[in-house]
């Protein structure tokens, strides 16, 4: 009874087609945005901004990008970190080489550059599927990182490809404290997340899902596979590219190509598996889970070991982290293949009926 959508009648097409047709969802999203934009900046400390909130939002955006490709269009990719790298380096070069380009415009251009590269590496998806494609995306992962390391022009001749990003300025206001960076990242991520939410319920999103469920059947009912798959690669890489630009400019400030490793791609993949494949909310839940788990283990494991008087080294902690990651992935795939997002849905259904179970 806490949550009921019965009785909300729609009297116009516009009302029926809005992004959040249920009143509680609308209020919930507005509340969430209000807390994120107003409440958090007032309360959170510097550490929270720069160590937890900013990376969380950036990885959620990257996971969102991968989720569009893998969760909605069904094309497994192991190269998301490489597309983030493209975004980061493209934004840096636009800032460096185009006189007076606004930061946000350079982020958008970085996204578009990543989208272009994504389409290029998405081309094989027209001929190959499944594992073959997953391995093909590994080509993107290794090739792009190698290119960024070896072509000095891309990193403005710095040694081993390390770039230090330019200061951010928007409409004459300098964005340099963690709080301001957080607000910038939050605005970009919120905007792109709503856009994604809108996109996946449109005819494009439906076409993606049809291709995911069975591409031969989709093409039989008149969905053109080539534009649909390539668009999925483009949109997904755009999101990853913007995430990469934010990662470089707002989170680390200085990045190197090797930072965008295969491990990072796997991390993003784990986020969508644990959060929920084919769910916008799931990308955020998964990102939060994957980022918080190591922090939690770092604190909890030595404490637990101390309790039992066991010897403990930092190497052991990192091994246990990897082990727990792997175990969790298998656990989620077996027990709840739709991830945390599905658990949230179940919770909502329970709340709808509470306190009467029928």
């Amino acid at each position: 009874m806490l949550y009921r959508e019965a009785g909300q009648f729609k009297t116009s097409y516009a009302a029926d087609q809005q992004l959040f047709p249920i009143r509680q969802d609308r209020i919930g999203v507005l509340l969430l945005l209000a807390v994120a934009f107003v409440g958090v900046p007032l309360l959170a400390s510097e550490y929270w901004f720069s160590a937890i909130l900013i990376p969380f939002l950036i990885f959620a955006l990257a996971a969102l990008g991968l989720n569009i490709l893998t969760g909605y269009a069904g094309q497994l990719s192991l190269g998301s970190a490489a597309f983030m790298a493209v975004g980061a380096y493209a934004a840096y070069n636009f800032q460096l080489r185009v006189e007076g380009i606004p930061v946000l415009l350079s982020f958008a251009c970085a996204g578009l550059t990543a989208a272009g590269v994504g389409v290029l590496f998405g081309l094989p998806s027209l001929r190959i599927k499944g594992f073959y494609l997953a391995v093909a995306t590994l080509a993107a992962q290794f090739f792009i990182v190698w290119c960024l390391t070896k072509f000095p022009w891309l990193s403005n001749n710095s040694s081993s490809g390390v770039i230090s990003t330019q200061p951010i300025e928007i409409l004459g206001l300098a964005v340099d404290t963690p709080r301001e960076k957080y607000l910038l990242v939050l605005a970009v991520v919120a905007l792109l997340a709503l856009a994604a939410k809108n996109l996946v319920r449109s005819s494009t999103g439906r076409a993606w899902m049809a291709v995911r469920d069975m591409d031969v059947a989709a093409s039989v009912i008149g969905i053109r596979l080539m534009p649909t798959k390539l668009l999925a690669f483009a949109v997904s890489s755009f999101y990853c590219g913007v995430a990469g630009a934010l990662y470089a400019f707002c989170y680390l400030g200085s990045v190197e190509p090797d930072g965008f490793s295969l491990d990072m791609s796997f991390k993003i993949l784990f986020m969508i598996i644990i959060g929920g494949v084919g769910s916008i909310l799931g990308s955020f839940l998964g990102a939060a889970f994957i980022l918080l788990l190591p922090i939690f283990l770092d604190v909890a494991l030595p404490a637990a070991a101390g309790l039992f008087g066991l010897p403990f080294s930092s190497a052991t902690v990192s091994h246990i982290q990897i082990l727990v990651f792997g175990a969790l992935i298998m656990f989620f795939l077996i027990v709840e293949p739709h991830g945390l997002a599905r658990l949230w849905q179940i919770a909502k259904e329970k709340l709808r009926l509470w306190p009467f179970p029928h």
Partner: protein, 304 residues
């Protein structure tokens, strides 16, 4: 020209090492349709358990037997606790589960056996054979030749096993169609347990070879990344494909590493080493555009 052949032969021999890992992938894929990303981690686990047992004072032969037992038990446990629960899930879900498995092993193995790099001595010396050095002025390692021999014996055994034995026929039946195999009375779960056992054995052989060559260390898990383009090139379902693919990849990446960077440096200036890292993938990718099912893979017909 001699240099060219030296590089070529060196590449072919290292390709054999890739093929050793690729074989494990092919076996599991053939028999259960699972693309086992954890094969590289299994190679690591196998090498580490041999090294771990030897550290405890076991002689080599005992350590190998113990490692074989560990790998078999591990394979059976994987089948029992992970894959059996995921029956009827889409193949991509199974693939992601094996990525999870790979991480699990990479965390577990060093916890049990310790993570410091170790040398593994099989009693084969990694030195050039004098005959080739004197007659042809080529450096060809004795170790590489032994590895090639081991690989060919392994492939011959596996081919015989698949073609002629009862279990081999059952394996091929299961690979073709789970349900049909089940309905004519083939015990699916036993077959899968056997497959994982055999894959564990192949991982052990690869682990011994790679471990003796590069030392037993975490980098062994990256052998899987070397084997993936081999698989794509050869086709996921073909044992000979794994060998031929391995040879092509090994030879071409070594040749590319020698001959392409100077060209690039001539155009752009600078140092372009490290092409080995991505060249096999791009090669496999280009190849896929022409033949999506690989060299020896079965042509797949889609039905709605």
């Amino acid at each position: 020209m001699e240099f060219f052949f030296e590089v070529l032969i060196g590449g072919l021999l290292s390709g054999v090492m890739y093929a050793l890992v690729a074989l494990g992938f092919v076996l599991i894929y053939k028999a259960s349709g699972v693309f086992n990303f954890a094969q590289g981690a299994m190679v690591y686990l196998a090498a580490l358990s041999v090294a771990g047992c030897m550290e405890k004072g076991a002689p080599l032969w005992l350590a190998v037997i113990l490692a074989f037992v560990i790998m078999t038990l591990f394979g059976i446990a994987t089948e029992r606790f992970v894959l059996r629960k995921l029956v009827n899930q889409p193949p991509i879900a199974l693939f992601m589960a094996t990525i999870g498995l790979a991480f699990f092993i990479e965390g577990l193995a060093p916890l049990v056996f310790g993570s410091e790099p170790r040398a593994l001595d099989l009693g084969i010396v990694d030195e050039p054979i004098p005959y080739f050095l004197d007659q042809w002025n080529m450096v060809i390692s004795k170790f590489d030749l032994v590895a090639a021999g081991v690989a060919s014996v392994l492939v011959a055994t596996l081919a015989l096993f698949f073609q002629t034995t009862r279990v081999g026929r059952a394996l091929r039946a299961v690979a073709d169609d789970h349900q049909a195999a089940l309905s004519i009375g083939i015990p699916l779960q036993h077959i899968w347990a056997i497959v994982w056992g055999v894959a564990g054995f192949v991982a052990l052989v690869a682990g011994l070879m790679w471990g003796a060559r590069n030392g037993v260390q975490f980098a062994l898990t990256f052998t899987a990344l070397k084997a993936l383009p081999v698989l794509i090139l050869g086709g996921f379902t073909s044992v000979p494909g794994a060998i031929v693919g391995g040879l092509i990849i090994g030879a071409s990446e070594k040749l590319a590493e020698i001959y392409i960077p100077p060209v690039l440096a001539g155009w752009f200036g600078g140092n372009f080493g490290g092409i080995e890292g991505w060249f096999p993938y791009i090669l496999a990718l280009l190849f896929l555009l022409v033949r999506p099912e690989g060299l020896f893979g079965e042509r797949h017909i889609d039905r709605v």
